[in-house]
Symmetry: C2
Subunit: 433 residues, 2 copies
C-alpha cells in the first residue's frame, strides 16, 4: 500500500523526511565492465565496436554497416502509419517552436571607463544522442534531445540506437529525420558511448553526449565526462499532484499512473487539502490497476513508492512540494496560477485540470527530459542551453587600463602572483612614459 | 624547452594532435579515503568534522567554534590595508555589475490554440563555496564564486575555508563580506564538502557546492554530486595568445607567465604569423624566468607544456585555437574584433594589446572560473546561470487539449504507455460528452 500521511499528525515531519530520503533505485555496479569496454573501443576502434555488437545485440556487421544508409532510413520511415507520422510531426513542430524561444542572446556594452565587456554564445560543434533500443525506445525522447541541439545550431548530430537482432523502430528513425539528425548508427551500450566520445575509424568523435540509457550507458557517460560534456544522469520518473476538492479523482489517478507505469521505481505523490479527494483518488488508482496493461509495473511503483498526503491548506501543499522538488508537478486546483507563484523547486509545472502530464511528454512543447530525484533544487531540464556555451569578452582601452589596472596589480601582489602584476604594470609603465 | 611547431611542416598535424592530447595532470587516486571521510561525516556529523579538523588542520575546536563569529570577521577584516580593501571593492563592484546583466528572463506566451507555455527561473535556495586555505587562498576567487550566487538570489550562501594552525587570510574574509556571504566555517578538505552536502548539527546542508580545491576536495565534490549540484572540476590553467607583428613580445611573455606561475601543470601557448615575434617572445620569457619569484613553478610549466606555433596567417591561427578551445584566449593583433569573429571555442577572449589576462582575473568583470582542459568545446565559465534553475510551464485549455491531445494519445499508444494515453482520453471524452 502507498504511504498515507496527514500533515497535522504529530509524527508527520519524521515520516515526511523518511519519504524524502527513500532510495528508489539501486544501480548495479557495472563500472569495471564499462571501463573495460571503453578501453577496448579506444584501443581497437571499429573492430571492438563490431565484436561487442555481435556479442550483445546478436548482429554480425561490417564497419560500413554501422551507419544506417539513407535508403535504409527511407524504407523504415515508409512503414510508419499516417496517424503516427502526423502526431510525430505535430510534436516536432511544437517542441521546435518552444525551444526556439530559448536561444540566449549575446551581449556587449561599454563601461564608464571605455572598456568593452560582454559575452557571445556559440553552439557545440558535434553532439551525440543515445537512444535506448527495445521497449524503452521512445521516439518522443529522440525529438526532445535532438531538436534543442539543432535549434542551438549543432552542426553535426549523431544518434546511436541499438537494434538487437536487427530490429529497428521505424518511429525512432522518423523522429530522427524530423529533428534533422545527421548520422544514425545501429549500436548501443557502453561501446556506443565510447565510440561517440573517442571516435573510431567510422564514427567521428563528438563534444557532447545526451540521452537516457541503462546502467551500462549511465556508467559509460560518467566515465567519458570531461573528455566530452554529458547531460544529467536521469533517475526514475516522478510526479507530484496537488489537488483541491474541485479536481477529478479519476483524471488524477490516471496522471499518477502515467508515471507509475514507466518503472517500478517511479513515484507518484498526491497532496490534497481534501481528505475525501485523497480517498477517491486511491480508489480510482486501485480500479485502474485491475485492468491496466502495465499493471504489474505500475502496481509495484504505487505499492512501494506511492504516497498520499492530506494537508490543511494549499500553501502547506506548496511548501511540502518545494521540499520534494518534483520532476513533474501538476496543479489540479481552482486557481493554479496563484498556487504556481508559491512553487520554487520543480522541473515542470502543469497548470490546471486540462493539462495532464502526458501532454508534456509528447506535444506540449517544453522538454520532457527533466531533473529527477529532487535535483530540481539545483538543476533544470534539457534545453537549448545544453548545446551552447558562453565565451566572455573583454577589451580594455589605455584609459580603461589606467583606471582599473592598478587595482588588478594590487590584488595580484596580495595573492603573490608576481607575473600577473607585472603584465599589468608593463602596460601601465608604457602609458606613463 | 617548450614545443616549437610550424604549421607548414609536413609532420605538423601529428605534432599538433600530440600537443592537444598531452595529459598535464595526474590526479592522485584519493577516492577511497574521501569515501571514508564522507561516510564518517554523514554518520557522526560535527564530531567527525571536529576530529578531522584537529587531524588535518591541527586545530582543536568545539562545535560552536566551527563558524566564524561576526566579531572575529570584524577583527580580521580590520587588518586589511586600505589599498587592498579599495582594490577588492573595485573588483567586487565590477564583477557584480557584469553578472547582474546575466540574469535570465522568464517567458510566458499563448500559442495559437490558447495554450499557455513558458518558463520561470528561480534561485538555488542554499549554496556552499569551497575556498582553499594556505597559498592558493585567493580572495578574487571568493568574489568570482560568491557574487554570481548572490546576484542570482541565493538566500543562504555558506563558505568553508580551512585555516591550518588557525591562520586565516583577512582578504578572504573581506571578500566574503563584500560579496554578502552569510556564513563562514573554518573547515576544509573532504570533510567540509561532506558537511555542506549532508549537513551536521551545526551546518545546515546546501543544494549546490562550487569552488576550487585539491584532489581530496575534487573527489569529494564528484562523490556528493547528485545529492547536491556542483560546478565543474577545474584542471590546471591555460592561456593561448594569438599575436601578429605589431604586438609587444615582452607583454605577451608576461601574460604567458601569468598562467605558467599558477601551477607546474599550467600551459601557455603562443600562435603567431610572425616567426620573429615567436623568437622575441621566447627570449622575453627566458629573461623573465631568471628573476621571477615563482620561476621554479613557471619554468617547469614553460619547459614541460609551453608551445610556440608559427602559422601562415591569422585565419589559420584561429582555426588551431578553436581546436585547442583554450580557457583564456588573448588576441594581441591589430584588429582583434575581426579575429574574434572566427573564434568558436574559448572560455574567455581578451581583445587587443591593452587587455592582459590578469585584468580578467581580478577587475575586468567577467568570471575567472572558466572551462579548462579543452572543455570550452562544450561548457561555459561560472555565471549567474549556475545558481538558478528553470521550471517549465504549460497550461492547456479545453480547446488546446482538443487540438493537440489526440496526437499525444496516438504517440502514447505507439510507445505502449496506456495510462499516458488514457489520462488524455479521459479529458477528451469529458469534452465530447
Amino acid at each position: 500500500m502507498p504511504v498515507f500521511l496527514n500533515a497535522s499528525d504529530t509524527d508527520f515531519e519524521t515520516a515526511f523526511v523518511a519519504l524524502l530520503g527513500a532510495k528508489r533505485e539501486d544501480s548495479p555496479d557495472v563500472d569495471d565492465v564499462v571501463a573495460g569496454i571503453i578501453a577496448d573501443v579506444r584501443a581497437r576502434g571499429d573492430a571492438a565496436v563490431l565484436e561487442l555488437t555481435a556479442k550483445f545485440d546478436r548482429m554480425e556487421l561490417s564497419a560500413d554497416q554501422l551507419r544506417f544508409s539513407e535508403a535504409e532510413i527511407d524504407a523504415l520511415v515508409a512503414q510508419v502509419p499516417e496517424a503516427e507520422r502526423a502526431a510525430l510531426e505535430l510534436a516536432a513542430e511544437r517542441i521546435r517552436a518552444y525551444h526556439e524561444k530559448q536561444m540566449p542572446e549575446d551581449a556587449q556594452w561599454t563601461d564608464d571607463h571605455g572598456a568593452m565587456l560582454g559575452w557571445r554564445w556559440t553552439p557545440v560543434s558535434a553532439a551525440g544522442l543515445y537512444v535506448p533500443g527495445g521497449l524503452a525506445s521512445y521516439p518522443s525522447s529522440v525529438l526532445m534531445n535532438a531538436i534543442p541541439a539543432k535549434v542551438a545550431g549543432v552542426e553535426r548530430l549523431a544518434i546511436v540506437v541499438p537494434t538487437p537482432d536487427g530490429v529497428a523502430n521505424p518511429l525512432v528513425l522518423l523522429a530522427a529525420r524530423l529533428a534533422g539528425v545527421d548520422e544514425v548508427y545501429r549500436i548501443g551500450g557502453a561501446q556506443a558511448v565510447a565510440a561517440l566520445a573517442y571516435g573510431t575509424e567510422t564514427i567521428a568523435p563528438v563534444d557532447k553526449i545526451t540521452g537516457p540509457g541503462n546502467a551500462f550507458v549511465a556508467a559509460a557517460k560518467r566515465r567519458v565526462f570531461g573528455k566530452v560534456g554529458i547531460d544529467m544522469i536521469a533517475g526514475p520518473s516522478e510526479i507530484l499532484v496537488i489537488a483541491d476538492k474541485q479536481a477529478d479523482p479519476d483524471w488524477i489517478a490516471l496522471d499518477m499512473l502515467s508515471q507509475a507505469e514507466h518503472d517500478e521505481s517511479a513515484q507518484a505523490i498526491l497532496i490534497t487539502d481534501d481528505a475525501d479527494m485523497a480517498q477517491s483518488v486511491v480508489a480510482a488508482v486501485e480500479r485502474h490497476l485491475n485492468v491496466l496493461e502495465r499493471r504489474a509495473i505500475a502496481g509495484a511503483s504505487w505499492r512501494d513508492f506511492g504516497a498520499v498526503i492530506v494537508v490543511s491548506d494549499l500553501a502547506q501543499a506548496a511548501e511540502l512540494s518545494n521540499r520534494v522538488a518534483p520532476e513533474h508537478l501538476e496543479l489540479c486546483v481552482a486557481d493554479p496560477d496563484v498556487l504556481a507563484e508559491r512553487i520554487t523547486h520543480a522541473g515542470a509545472i502543469f497548470l490546471g485540470n486540462w493539462t495532464p502530464e502526458a501532454i508534456g511528454d509528447y506535444v506540449g512543447g517544453p522538454n520532457h527530459v527533466l531533473p529527477t530525484a529532487r535535483s530540481a533544487r539545483f538543476s533544470s531540464g534539457l534545453s537549448v542551453m545544453d548545446f551552447v556555451k558562453r565565451t566572455t569578452l573583454a577589451k580594455m582601452t589605455p584609459a580603461a587600463l589606467r583606471a582599473i589596472g592598478p587595482a588588478a596589480e594590487t590584488l595580484a601582489i596580495s595573492e603573490s602572483l608576481e607575473a600577473h602584476g607585472l603584465s599589468v604594470r608593463a602596460r601601465l609603465n608604457h602609458l606613463n612614459d
